[in-house]
Symmetry: C2
Subunit: 227 residues, 2 copies
């Protein structure tokens, strides 16, 4: 009998990507919620390199790194395709997913976390420049890679859902950061609206209130530790 | 008629990966050497996001990011497979290639560039820990992913060929760094020997002397600028 286990945390966009892909394919799986402050022996054993979620174990074989897992899921189970079939379109999907993780999110995160006028201005400028590439990419596409949910849409969950709350708590500065606005990035805003209102997507995102409570608790813990 | 253009620089391990893959597949291509101090309008036009080599243009369509390009090449042209056919083996190849670029090389680089006893010791320790994952992975494999040159071997060119020269110039400290030694990492050393002595691989690596001259010139330029 097939065994599919996913080790994740409810608040991780990377875990949620894998859940979304498994559900898209209709794969039944056992979900194990990890306590990242007290990682399970299985997580440490099966992902010794990164010691991180998500970790997928399929018939005893472990795979980590969310984008690697997404491709594995697409190649292993039938159902709606996560990557396009055309090699060039596939390469573009891989390119943009990589861009989101390696360039876009880090720049957006820096814009929220940087302090001091000069550093903040520089980080903000860089984030705007990077996000503009997404703005141009999403233009005219109903979703990033076509009419159905694909690799880039799944990977962009952290921009669409997590970023707003992250900015609310960590980018809380004067004047407010407001990185993603309708006047600057209308296409992204439209995509975020459509994406987060899609019933299937919505079911696979954590509640905003719960995420907000998590960030709030983290900020308070950091403040208490600094005192 | 098919048109394949590669924008690269002779000293970039990332460009060399693409060259190696194209040659492995027997694809004829036009190579354009980029001057990174004076980037060509084509590079800036076709890779606006990263403005970096390698950039492959196939029948007018641009692709960047070496690992993305390698998968594209594998999916587009017949010839020896770059990725294994089994989905799990494919995911492992992707995992280790990503590991090399995102974890292994940065740790090895930091070990060379960090200064000051404490910082240096920490960076050295981290690099040893990370490289040990490779040591265990390469154990028993003639090449990383089997008996033929595959994605991980191609991606590992920077560890096998570039790192030694990089350490010689940038990790020149007392006591010497000597990160990769036969007593600590016998499997890696054996793999490096075999890999860099393979005729096909050798033809696709820059000469060590030329690389050494490049690093030397860069170090001298940095010193002159700091004076």
């Amino acid at each position: 009998m097939e065994s599919v286990k996913l080790f994740g945390t409810w608040f991780s966009p990377y875990s949620r990507r894998v859940e979304m892909a498994l559900k898209l394919k209709g794969v039944e799986y056992e979900y194990i919620e990890e306590d990242l402050k007290n990682k399970s022996p299985d997580l440490l054993k099966y992902n010794p390199v990164h010691k991180k979620v998500p970790l997928l174990i399929h018939n005893g074989k472990p795979i980590s790194e969310s984008l690697v897992i997404l491709e594995y899921i697409d190649e292993t189970w039938p159902g709606p395709a996560i990557l396009p079939s055309d090699p060039y379109e596939r390469s573009m999907a891989r390119f943009w997913a990589k861009f989101l993780d390696e360039k876009c999110w880090p720049a957006m995160r820096r814009a929220c976390l940087s302090r001091g006028d000069q550093e903040q201005e520089k980080a903000n400028e860089e984030a705007n420049e990077v996000v503009m590439f997404l703005e141009n990419e999403v233009k005219g596409n109903k979703l990033f890679c076509g009419d159905t949910i694909g690799l880039v849409d799944i990977a962009a969950n952290l921009i669409a859902h997590w970023y707003g709350i992250f900015e609310e708590f960590y980018g809380n500065m004067q004047p407010p950061l407001n990185l993603i606005t309708k006047d600057k990035f209308p296409n992204i805003c439209e995509w975020v609206d459509e994406y987060t209102n899609c019933t299937f997507v919505k079911e696979n995102l954590p509640e905003k209130d719960k995420l907000a409570q998590l960030y709030m608790a983290r900020i308070q813990a950091a403040k208490a530790a600094a005192q």
